[in-house]
Symmetry: C2
Subunit: 189 residues, 2 copies
């Protein structure tokens, strides 16, 4: 998706440790017009799938998922990383290791928001090691729902997540795949 | 906003302790079409203000803020409740007491996403005691920015937050104000 790649080149910052900082338009400050275009592109790529719901994870997945849901006209559910005060007692839960923070989180979704009759599109902002995506796919599996695939805004193609997830049989559509940024410059596949 | 009130009556659940559970369309599962209408309504109410940026708080404020930002064509910044791994060292921070969880959080925004030339619209999903909103207003004040006002999806009119915030001179536009729900039925002002 050229509009996204141009934005990454213009506003992304490459930091030591293969970190791509895109918090000026994706995960701290958000550009809603770009998110709308991203949501429309996800909807286009999955238009032949009878998606019933989108599943994402708080907080950075919400923006792209929400506009994909808008264009597909389906509800968006976000998995929570912390236990809510008024949370349903019945939840699907999966462990997710965070490499950036080096700790394990448990992500949860209330059982009533994922059902066996659902055909789910999972959306997230980044795919690096694949932990979050596999955790979300685990929730879909626990619910007995089917998984249409995963829509990813930025995939770090030089890390193992894309291979892990695709090898497990999940269709992955990434709007920008970074081949390399080890010298501080982003190059796409 | 009648569409929102109808949805609250249809899908909201009143729980003991004056809790209104709206996680089927607002803060766990999200209805993107409703959020678009909410965003459009916020944009309409603040159309005469030269808004430059929207400020909200993760995670539940993101959806309504994002669509307001889409309709106003301005970026959306969300304050973070936890420290990010790759966060800027320079942040504005404010303490916010959570009554639902009975604990204090510190909310943070990177200094570069709020500036003295900004005219900010603050958006949040709920207004009850006003803690989150006053915390966000504090961040705006620290940046030297001006505050256009606050857009709230659901205000609990029987709690003191609305009065506290309005008394401090902030314009508050709430799309649904609940007068009472003590008998388990929601009545609007």
């Amino acid at each position: 998706m050229q509009m996204l790649k141009d934005r990454i080149i213009r506003d992304g910052q490459v930091l030591p440790g293969n970190i791509l900082k895109v918090d000026s338009f994706l995960n701290h400050q958000i550009d809603p017009v770009l998110m709308d275009a991203i949501g429309e592109e996800f909807a286009r790529r999955f238009m032949n799938e009878p998606i019933t719901r989108i599943l994402t994870i708080e907080s950075s997945g919400i923006a792209p998922a929400l506009f994909a849901g808008y264009h597909l006209r389906v509800p968006v559910v976000f998995a929570k990383k912390t236990e809510s005060a008024n949370q349903d007692p019945d939840t699907f839960a999966a462990p997710v290791h965070s490499y950036t923070r080096n700790r394990d989180n448990v992500i949860r979704v209330a059982c009533r928001y994922l059902s066996a009759s659902d055909h789910i599109l999972v959306i997230d902002d980044f795919l690096a090691h694949g932990e979050a995506l596999l955790g979300l796919a685990d929730l879909v599996c626990q619910a007995g729902a089917s998984l249409a695939g995963a829509g990813i805004v930025i995939e770090k193609g030089f890390q193992d997540g894309g291979k892990r997830v695709r090898t497990s049989g999940i269709r992955v559509e990434s709007l920008a795949i970074i081949e390399d940024m080890s010298d501080g410059h982003v190059r796409f596949q």
